[in-house]
């Protein structure tokens, strides 16, 4: 395996009484399509926020492509693209204006930004809505414009937090196509999700997270092991037993009310 894209050591984050991330060590290989999977509340968003420099960890170090996120932000920020979950965009700009703004803030020349923006809007099927304000976009369109602004400066590593959450199948397919093309060129994608089928069909490397800890890492085959699907392997890893719902809901279904 080549060099690592992300190296995390002893990462901790506590919010009041709640430990969100409980000392994780993680090494993500470069050039892979990596899935960070786990149930809601597992600490995926917190981890990604700390890895991308948007949240300060209580302890631990994060290196992205060999540079410390907190000590060397100049090197790191130029090399990563981020699509966070639950944070706004500058929604009173139109889609095109948002791309123009982000690209120029990134220090790209104006003409280059406009050229790339046109192509991204085209590929992501947003060209028709490029002059609409982002505030009037649907969820799928927001994710796509967010992805476009994350890709604009051609980052080496792309971090996506729940990029398919609430996205319709057509937009999801578009996003998928763009991401597959991007990783094929040797770039790294790290994305979080709790939809196992999606992770299974997209990723070649997975890290399983639950209750603030890493439960398993490795290639898809390694993590899946003997289990028939990633879903089953995941349920075993996080220790969720399938409850026997036989007698409790005996009134459910059938003809009588």
């Amino acid at each position: 395996m080549g060099s690592s894209a992300v190296r995390v050591q002893g990462l901790w984050k506590r919010f009041g009484q709640q430990v969100a991330v409980a000392g994780i060590d993680l090494e993500l290989p470069a050039g892979k399509f990596i899935g960070l999977v786990g149930p809601n509340g597992a600490g995926k968003t917190t981890t990604l926020s700390m890895v991308t420099g948007l949240l300060r960890p209580d302890h631990g170090t994060v290196e992205v492509v060999g540079h410390d996120v907190w000590r060397d932000p100049v090197e790191v920020k130029a090399r990563i693209g981020v699509l966070p979950e639950g944070l706004r965009l500058f929604e009173r700009l139109s889609g095109r204006e948002l791309l123009a703004y982000t690209g120029r803030l990134r220090g790209l020349p104006g003409a280059e930004v406009d050229k790339r923006a046109t192509q991204l809007l085209d590929v992501l099927d947003l060209a028709g809505d490029q002059h609409k304000l982002v505030v009037d976009y649907s969820t799928g369109m927001r994710k796509k414009i967010g992805l476009a602004s994350a890709l604009l400066h051609n980052p080496e590593v792309l971090f996506l937090d729940e990029p398919f959450e609430g996205v319709d199948p057509v937009s999801a397919q578009t996003i998928r196509g763009v991401l597959e093309r991007y990783t094929a060129s040797g770039a790294t994608v790290v994305f979080s999700s709790h939809v196992m089928e999606l992770v299974e069909s997209l990723c070649d490397w997975v890290a399983v997270m639950a209750a603030g800890r890493i439960r398993a890492t490795g290639t898809l085959a390694e993590v899946r092991g003997e289990a028939p699907s990633l879903q089953r392997a995941f349920l075993e890893l996080v220790g969720a037993q399938s409850r026997d719902a036989g007698s409790d809901l005996d009134w459910l279904g059938g003809g009588s009310r």
Binding site: T52, G53, L54, L55, R56, P73, V74, V76, K77, A78, V82, P84, G86, L87, R88, L89, F90, E91, R92, L93, S94, R96, E97, A100, Y101, T102, R104, L105, R106, G107, G110, D129, H131, K132, L133, V135, D136, S149, R257
Partner: protein, 530 residues
Amino acid sequence: MSAPAITPVFVRLKLSLLRNGLRRSGAQRVAYIASAVIALLFAVLQMVGLIALRGQAHIDALVVLLTAVLGLGWAVMPLFFPSGDETLDPTRLVMLPLRPRPLVRALLAASLVGIGPLFTVCLLAGSAIAVARGGAAYAVGVVAVVLALLVCVAFARAVAAANVRLLSSRKGRDLAVLSGLVIAIGAQVVNFGAQRLGSSGLGELDPVADVVGWLPPASAIGAVHSVSEGSYGVAAAQLALSGAALVVLIAVWSRHLTRLMTSPDGSTLPAAGSAARERTSSGLGRLLPAGRTGTVMERSLRYVWRDPKTKAAWVTSLAIGLIVPVFNAWQGTGSVYFACFAAGMLGIQMYNQFGQDTSAFWIVAMTISSTRDAYVELRARAYALLLITLPYATLVTVVTTAMLGDWRRLPEALGLSFALLGAMLATGAWTSARFPYSIPQEGYKNVAPGQTGLAWISIFGGMIAAAVLCAPVIALTIWLNVSAGGDDWTWLLLPVGAAYAAGLTAAGLRLAAPQTARRLPEILGAVSKG
């Protein structure tokens, strides 16, 4: 299975919602209780005041107008505070199999529960007692209070149901944010009216009240007065009018409610005729400098126009900055120095810069990796502000001077204005980095719950610091004005003030930049609570 009566269910739901207001964190609970207590105290005091005014001349005109204002308040309330009452939004009930008639009854009963209705009852009861004379009048009074309250509540419900599509759309929410302006302007009108009444007596009210006394719900209270006067026919007509209004309002409400409950939710459909305009790069964009500076300036200026919260703040600042010096000059009580108000009010816009970005600040944070980046970012925001503020403050100062004819003092007034503006920019930049707070995008609040203290430190601490920073220029102004022969040198205050302002701004930005660069995650956390 027989359907149980739903009215008690809705009343209990409303009571639970009221009670749940208490189940929040400390500061919020205190605020909730305090506002309820103050509202009730105010209502009781008003009631006592009205009863004390019993028998005074023109009291009949006063209570009729008061009831009319109350009715108007109920009518516009749902437009400005759509989230004020969660049971007001019938679309939440759309999935439940409810018939319109029991639903209207249940919702009406539920609306009678709460602080607002209690406040209204206090005021209406006080009004009725203030004008009632004799047993018949009191009997009519009881009917009138109930009728007027029902009209008020049905009015609010009908308006809310009729506008739910507007209120649940983005444009409607934008409109609600601008409600603060309407209230501010309304307060000015009331202030002006009160001054006029103070100078020429309550008699001015009588002709207005004669008309308003026939409009529901004021006509119900008018009926109490008519009975006291012995005009039973008029009273009957007035009561009938209010009764008819109630019937019409409930019918309108019921019709809208039925349509809302049976037709698909419109909030996700694109509003007609909202085809996206081509937003081409404006001429301004091409005039701005390239790189981060121009990019940030362009976005800031776009937000002044497009973001309702930012727009409301700017319009308020621009209006008050103009009104205070110019109105005072107009009334002959002004001074040229009042013109500094414009600079001061507009300087406030530099405060909490990153809070104005909301959590979208992450985009900025991702592109700031050095103190230099942070400096350019802050400087560009200050430039954008100056682009509007500098000409505006100059204009207001010149207009004020012209109205007062005090041209000799123009240079020093301008110098002071600029110095104040510079001090506000400097302290604004620093507090933006040091004490950021969230501005909720919905509703009329400008501070997220729990961050009020932070906002006070930021704004008032900053303003005091700005005043202190201005002290040298103020001292110089005073010295030149009192010392013999100093008058010949007051022109110096213009260049001195401007240079001092430029120096202060530069120093403030230099101090704020490293703070910003170092505290990016903390700032993002603080501004993401809205």
